[in-house]
């Protein structure tokens, strides 16, 4: 059963416009969420995160929004740049019990930013 879902395998946007990547989760015990960015032939790199006690976290061009009641989070990139073209993974973590050690990842969304 997939606990973290990224329902859009791909997204294409124009340079300068907003990119919105979505992520849904089913496990209500998740209390920390992360976004990773992955270029081909490289390992994933941490991008931005948010705790469940917040509904928004911003870092430069990147903002993550969390809607706990809908079990939904989104990553906004404004303005989008060609260098943002990569696969973006959503991941979630719970602080409770034996799952404290592990991240659960979505399948990823391939973002293409066209010049």
């Amino acid at each position: 059963d997939q606990q973290v879902k990224q329902n859009s395998p791909s997204l294409s946007v124009q340079e300068g416009r907003i990119s919105i990547l979505n992520c849904d989760y089913t496990n209500s015990m998740f209390d920390y969420f992360l976004w990773y960015k992955k270029y081909p032939a490289e390992g994933p790199t941490f991008l931005i995160s948010i705790s469940s006690i917040k509904d928004k976290n911003e870092d430069g061009r990147f903002t993550v929004f969390l809607n706990k009641s809908a079990k939904h989070l989104s990553l906004h990139i404004v303005p989008s740049q060609p260098g943002d073209s990569a696969v973006y993974f959503c991941a979630a973590h719970t602080s409770s019990g034996g799952s404290n050690y592990k991240l659960t990842f979505g399948k990823g969304t391939l973002l293409t930013v066209n010049p």
């Binding site: 990224q6 920390y32 992360l34 990773y36 032939a41 490289e42 390992g43 994933p44 790199t45 941490f46 995160s49 993974f89 973590h93 404290n100 050690y101 592990k102 991240l103 990842f105 979505g106 399948k107 990823g108």
Partner: protein
């Protein structure tokens, strides 16, 4: 950057042979992880370690074993490689329970013929 390296970076092997992948980190991180990445599946956890000699299974552990004899090294062994284990393997590490972020290595591309 957590200073995680993986070796080898690429390997081609034959079905039925044993294979060991190595992960080395220089950050004295307590937690280490092995994932595989496959098209349509994202990143799936194979095994993880929460200390020297302390390991546990992830969601896709069948056919894999791990060992951690030193803080800095985490080995993944495919006891008898199969074609279904052709994948890209990533190692990751994490400092402590208060650190939610995992840092990833560059990956090992394994092909089993």
């Amino acid at each position: 950057d957590a200073g995680i390296t993986q070796s080898p970076r690429h390997k081609v092997t034959e079905t039925g042979t044993p294979v060991t992948l190595r992960c080395h980190q220089t950050e004295n991180h307590r937690y280490m992880y092995w994932y595989r990445q496959d098209p349509g599946h994202g990143l799936r956890l194979i095994h993880y370690s929460y200390g020297v000699k302390d390991t546990d299974k992830g969601e896709v552990s069948d056919g894999y074993s791990v060992s951690r004899s030193k803080t800095e090294d985490f080995l993944l062994t495919l006891e008898s490689a199969t074609s279904s284990q052709t994948s890209v393997y990533f190692c990751a590490s994490r400092g402590g329970l208060a650190d939610n972020e995992q840092f990833f290595g560059p990956g090992t591309r394994l092909t089993v013929l």
